[in-house]
Point group: C2
Chain length 205, copies 2
Amino acid sequence: MEKEIPEISLQRLPVYLNYLRSLPESEGTYISSGAIASALGMGEVLVRKDLAYTKATGKPKVGYVREELVAALEEFLCCNNKKNAVIIGIGGLGRALLGYGGFKNYGIDVVAAFDKDEEKIGTFVADKPVLDINGLEGGLKEHAAQLAIICVPASAAQSVADMLSKVGVKAILNFAPVQLSVPKGVIVRNIDVAGSLSVLAAMIK
Amino acid sequence: MEKEIPEISLQRLPVYLNYLRSLPESEGTYISSGAIASALGMGEVLVRKDLAYTKATGKPKVGYVREELVAALEEFLCCNNKKNAVIIGIGGLGRALLGYGGFKNYGIDVVAAFDKDEEKIGTFVADKPVLDINGLEGGLKEHAAQLAIICVPASAAQSVADMLSKVGVKAILNFAPVQLSVPKGVIVRNIDVAGSLSVLAAMIK
DNA sequence: TAGATTGTTAATCGATTAACAATC
DNA sequence: TAGATTGTTAATCGATTAACAATC
């Protein structure tokens, strides 16, 4: 049985993909692990190990066929399977992410947002509807969304996570600076922007 | 000589701080590493080791004095030293972060934003001025900002990073999905929202 | 005192790097 | 062929966990 990819390797795959996609056509057909490594400031063995988890294989002496490598990474990251996501909470951040075009690079379609504010419900942001959080279950069924992004204040995040878990969301990207407790089978990853910046502030001291 | 904190421990300190701050007053004076650990889903020895990097010390049998622990974390994270940050790029994300109130929990003040769009220059977002990116040097000197958040498109991020490095910014939080190259002495950390969501999508498969 | 919890040292675990044979 | 690069195995490094003495 092949070994499953560790999460830490998985997290680097989008980095490789972004880099490879950014290369100009003139870069040529092949690219070596060493070239990728030096562009990204990492070790070349690590690059090869990470890439080995995908279906990509390189050729000794020349490296990897760039287009094949991109395709292998896209397949591994399921970029070709369309997946729907929803955003909960249309404050500044939710609004920004609803309008952000970068998700489609990974086959992710942000189809709708949910909020409790009656002023916002029924409006559209970036052509996406803002729906009533109380209709979450029906709304999610309709859109078949397995992914959710929590952009509500910390005080509301746990109850939102509970609702999302109940209606079948499988993974949550949480921007609220609070630890969420969710049932087994639901994955949560946190992004704490202020906390991350504070770490940088502490590092420069 | 005391050992320096590894970055991976440092990154957990804001998590502890957020948790401790969120506790109601009624929680009592003391809190144990075991209580923190189980609330955050981690090992209790790890919690103690992390906390030991700060000045916090606990008492056998009772745990840590909650207020002292908060104070020790705040001191370690320099929450009491006022630090200024700027945001480069007032698209949806830059706008959202300019209006976000969470930075002040860490003593960080986002004082201004910079953009190249003449339509935006001279306006105010959340009472913060949007300035001309070409006046970055003067603007940064005036505000004494050592921290910057890059919210421009990937294609512009490297040139922004070059400018920031040149005018003395010491740490950059980069939201553009591209690897930035900066001079030694400048720290960069990346947040790739779409990439992070794609990792979650891959994990649920 | 007995029991709970800290703080630290040793053991384990996992990730990265080094070494190197295979190969185009 | 010679040289460069892959893919893999072994060694190293660092982080987490286990064990346990100290102590309130």
